[in-house]
Symmetry: C2
Subunit: 162 residues, 2 copies
Amino acid sequence: MAEKDLKALFLHQLKDTYYAENAIVKALPKLAAAAQAEELRGAFAVHLEETKNHVKRLDQIFQHLGEQPQGVECKAILGIIAEGDEVAEEFQDGEALDAGLIAAAQAVEHYEITRYGTMLAWAKQLGLPEVEGLLAETLAEEESTDELLSELAEDAINPQAA
Amino acid sequence: MAEKDLKALFLHQLKDTYYAENAIVKALPKLAAAAQAEELRGAFAVHLEETKNHVKRLDQIFQHLGEQPQGVECKAILGIIAEGDEVAEEFQDGEALDAGLIAAAQAVEHYEITRYGTMLAWAKQLGLPEVEGLLAETLAEEESTDELLSELAEDAINPQAA
């Protein structure tokens, strides 16, 4: 019978997040290509490089646990990305397109913030300090991207969209 | 041709969130029924009542905008809820079940936090102070539920799950 303890749950969440990060690596170039404002295209490009690094950190965490890196389908991120695609299509060439793209990207960020926050608490509980350190680095970058997108929206994008 | 400005985007997001809140009203009793710890069942029950109130606030916002309350399918929340169902099934009767349910609920909270945060910024931009007030009330409750779940996990649920 399969284990159903916190370590098994952690591994399940790790695979879900691995799938999600790889899906985001594919989605970000599409968001960048759709964006009208150069500053926003730049922000998406920077975050793409960070996200590739997040995948590498997850690889390291799998190694720490003696497991092969592997994803399990993450319906949440697929739904969040699909909604972003819908907004990009529906508001194409409109004044509010970039505001919609930022909202989509922030929904992605918040999904990652909750998953990394949860895994960080679990790693602490499981006594895995190296894993904790890797998760904390990525969490800090996701939070910082989310804040950057909020500032960009409030200072530049939303006023143009209104 | 359909409007593609910030007001149209706001209305689109409002309908998405209306659908999401109504989906959460249906999902929370299932989470509560699955939870093992009485404290967690209680937290889900309290949040169910809050969520019903969030739906009422959205009704009021539709009224402010002169629109009929209406949802549009929110693939993001459907994906997030489906993942919670998967974890509930996979970890049924296991030590880590409640930790998985909390993670699922926090993913829901973070989805709402990002959507209400975005709509709050847009309402500010659009000069809709009453709408802003209603959104801010709900946002504060979502953030407070998220913090409560983190405390419950770290203080009581995770140690039992490990």
